[in-house]
């Protein structure tokens, strides 16, 4: 006869002990746990850059969203970053950028110490195509200034230990960018700067002031 075995110790993973576990019987303090966790968590993940440059002011844009009377999405970038037009309560029109689609739209994932670029359901191993200085560039538009007057490029770089990407979007005449990385960069990493220069040498990223962006 066939039988099945369930481990009791594993079954009890579904049990929540509110009775015999006396909270506070350990000397470990929550603040000590926080110190360790937050240091490591901040090292391992960097919040998305939420910056829009040139004529669109990020602060004004975010403020406008808070008190927006009307909002219209005009463009959703490769990594889920959303750009659009907004009218605030006083009737002033402006542009906005919102980066909240990035958690669902993973651009780069790490598996078995390899880095994969994810796009349109595709998955490409890019580990050996880039490093700290060499970018991997994906052009979401074949030609500069597409029919809807937008451009979208992704620059990826780094190694499995420290990697990230920056998404560049030309939207209604202004360059905006968003991105994520697994480490905190004090400055723009070499792969990003080299990627921008390479794109400009191909006649793309027109109007983007790299020096100004690096200083930003």
């Amino acid at each position: 006869m066939e039988s099945k075995t369930v481990k009791i110790s594993e079954l009890l993973d579904d049990y929540t002990d509110n009775e015999f576990c006396i909270e506070g019987e350990t000397e470990v303090q929550n603040e000590e746990i926080k110190d360790i966790v937050l240091k490591k968590a901040k090292k391992r993940s960097k919040p998305a850059k939420k910056i829009i440059i040139a004529a669109v002011a990020a602060t004004a844009a975010l403020t406008a969203i808070m008190g927006a009377a009307a909002q219209r999405i005009a463009f959703t970038a490769f990594d889920g970053t959303e750009l659009g037009y907004i009218v605030d309560e006083d009737g002033h029109e402006g542009k906005y950028i919102a980066c909240y689609g990035q958690e669902e739209n993973q651009v780069v994932i790490k598996e078995n110490n390899r880095l994969y670029f994810i796009y349109d359901g595709g998955k490409t191993d890019i580990t050996d195509l880039m490093d700290e200085k060499t970018p991997y560039i994906y052009k979401c538009h074949d030609q500069p200034a597409d029919v809807d007057n937008t451009e979208n490029y992704i620059i990826v770089g780094g190694t499995p230990d420290a990697y990230g990407y920056t998404c560049f979007i030309l939207f209604d005449g202004d360059w905006a960018f968003s991105g994520k990385s697994t480490v905190l960069y004090d400055t723009h990493p070499d792969w990003e700067v080299n990627g921008m220069k390479q794109l400009q040498s191909e006649g793309r990223l027109v109007g983007l002031d790299i020096e100004q962006m690096i200083e930003f």
Binding site: K4, V6, Y15, D17, E23, V28, N30, L38
Partner: protein, 187 residues
């Protein structure tokens, strides 16, 4: 602030939500680990941090339902792995319930969420058996240690554990536990 609010904040990558999670469940997690490791504050601190760091790194998959139970399970796993690394195997007495082919849960019984069912089944055990059961299978105490804490002889404790396993199995089957969907080993 509900568990759902905290989970939503975590999914958005907010470290503030991580702090709130630790404020709410840090003591619980460290206490579960401390019980299993019998104190050892330094290890307990490190493993508690590991639990929350693992939550942070897997925050996209996190669900608000039964968050406390999930953290408890993660804490147990960290602590048990630590012990296994140190002394190879946990001395758990007959750590299994065997379901034979004919012992399917009643078809008429509505399937319940596993966590709810397991909690109810454990809570239905006789109080002293329940404490013995949890000390041994949940916190990994040896039978002798758990028996001593409860003033039982070793043989009495083993008899109670055996009865407890039978009772637990009967309750699980009666309540509609679908072992076929769980991680079972075919024998």
């Amino acid at each position: 602030m509900t568990d759902g609010d905290i989970v939503n904040g975590l999914k958005k990558g907010k470290t503030k939500a991580l702090e709130q999670l630790i404020d709410r469940y840090g003591k619980y997690v460290s206490s579960v680990i401390s019980r299993i490791l019998r104190g050892r504050n330094e290890d307990c601190r490190e493993l508690s941090a590991d639990v929350f760091l693992a939550i942070w790194e897997n925050r996209e998959k996190l669900r608000a339902e039964n968050l406390k139970g999930y953290l408890g399970a993660a804490a147990r796993n960290k602590a048990f792995n630590k012990l296994r690394n140190e002394r190879e195997e946990l001395p758990l007495e007959e750590d299994m319930i065997i379901f034979d082919d004919g012992e399917q849960p009643c078809e008429a019984v509505e399937r319940k969420e596993t966590a709810l069912l397991v909690n109810r089944a454990v809570n239905d055990l006789e109080p002293i058996t329940k404490e013995l059961f949890l000390r041994h299978y949940y916190y990994g105490q040896s039978v002798a240690e758990a028996a001593d804490a409860l003033g039982l002889s070793l043989s009495a404790a083993k008899t109670r554990l055996c009865r407890g396993r039978q009772t637990l199995k009967a309750i699980l089957l009666k309540e509609g536990y679908d072992y076929g969907e769980q991680n079972c080993e075919n024998k």
